[in-house]
């Protein structure tokens, strides 16, 4: 009897909660561009620990990196300041859709799946994705399909994760942190690791590793919600002008030099 009441209560409660948004009259949400300029800040989500795109400077306790500088450049163009939110990479896309953050600046590749839910902006760099093994490994591959039967690590929610998930037979291990992934590679728990090339440079100073296969990655871009053509136009102009006057190239030279 009691459990039946509980179930009924839950069903009615969730049911009413589900109906409530439909009962209130629809309001046109204000344009994101106006929201941001009125607020005077643009809330940008990133996921630090991805050198040289975004890192936390342990000397100053502040975020720094290529994406950080580029997002500040965009914010300057619009005339606002940046408020950073540093959250898990998997949560960024949901947070941007929900309106918790205005823009994603986290070395995010342009993929079809992401474009369905978020609007990519003018792309600004193309990097490589690489398969990395221990220096003494004898593994050689000529395509990603050759990884079938091997234990391979990738960061959760990344394009590398998606690409490997589509190949049946690869024993894919997903890591929230790149650090632990390289630890496991070094310990021999993984045969290979599939990551963005720029971050390999950092770990090659600690572990003896080598790159055995390189794929040109999709272009990297910032993302915003769909719905504000003025915001996307402003950010795209900021990046285009940055390329035109050489300031983006200067940043690329500074961080990837």
């Amino acid at each position: 009897m009691m459990s039946i009441l509980l179930v009924i209560g839950l069903v009615v409660g969730f049911g009413v909660g589900y109906m409530i948004p439909g009962l209130t009259p629809p309001v046109t949400p204000p344009d994101d561009y106006d929201v941001i300029t009125d607020r005077g800040t643009i809330i940008v989500g990133t996921n630090s620990g991805w050198p040289p795109f975004e890192m936390l400077n342990t000397t100053t306790d502040e975020l720094y990196g290529f994406d950080i500088d580029l997002a500040e450049l965009v914010a300057d163009y619009i005339g606002v300041t940046v408020e950073w939110v540093d959250m898990d990479f998997d949560a960024l896309i949901g947070a941007c859709q929900a309106g918790s953050i205005d823009m994603i600046a986290s070395a995010t590749f342009i993929t079809a799946a992401r474009c369905e839910v978020l609007q990519p902006l003018c792309w600004y760099i193309r990097t490589n994705e690489v398969v990395v093994v221990k220096a003494n490994s004898t593994l050689t591959i000529s395509s990603l399909d050759d990884l079938v039967g091997y234990t391979v690590g990738a960061q959760t929610g990344t394009t590398e994760d998606e690409e490997l998930s589509e190949i049946a037979g690869v024993d894919l291990v997903r890591y929230p942190l790149v650090e632990t992934m390289f630890q496991d590679l070094n310990a021999g728990a993984l045969d290979a690791v599939y990551v963005d090339e720029p971050i390999v440079a950092l770990y090659s100073t600690v572990y003896s590793i080598k790159i055995i296969f390189t794929v040109t990655a999709p272009p990297t871009a910032f993302y915003i919600r769909y719905g504000s053509d003025r915001l996307s136009a402003a950010i795209n102009s900021a990046i285009a002008e940055g390329f035109a006057d050489g300031s983006v190239d200067a940043l690329i030279a500074q961080w990837f030099g």
Binding site: I43, S48, G49, T58, M87, D88, A91, S100
Partner: protein, 230 residues
Amino acid sequence: MQGPFGLFDILVLILIRGLPMTLALTLLSLLVGFLVGLLLALVRVYAPYGLNYIAIGYEKIFRGIPLLVLIFIFGAALLRYFIWTGSLANALFFAAMLSLALRSAAYQSEIFRGAIMSVDAGQMMAAKSIGMNTFQATRNIILPQALRLSLPGWANEYAVVIKDTSLASAIGISDLIYQAQAFTWDYPAQFLPIILIVAIIYFVFTYPVTRYLGESMTLKLRQLGLGGGR
């Protein structure tokens, strides 16, 4: 990428930058969880028929959702509803605190319910026989004994919450784990020492509380004639 700091500097920097946030999250969420949890426990034990299902439903829901999922719900999906806290940093902190507190309230309510029910039923009858009403009896007779009885269980809840605050780093709360991770990126060769430093910090802040509240207080309860066992 090797920075200028030695291991001891790293320990101090992690403490200075991370510890305040970890302790603030722990204490605030335990406090809010205590108030909500005690209310839920009282509702479950004393409320008239029907009302207690609200408390039961609450406990079932919040004990059944992983904390990381709660943190993503409040901190990533619903963050804009907390902007009234004044700034983005406050909103993120509030979201993390709320996730921890709501989850802790569900657990604490079970702790207090067990403690209230382990106070002999005769105490309530005796209190009413000398003219107290239910509220007075609960406030003056039952709760003072029940809260003492709940201390060992509550110390355990403290130990759980202080360590679970580490999940708040998933939305960028600058706690011990968030800082430690940043240092492991700059000092990848020192990964194990840095993680061990954090393990020791958490232990140092957990052990005295569980030792005092959880164990010494149990002895004292026996001297007061409360609780069974020996």
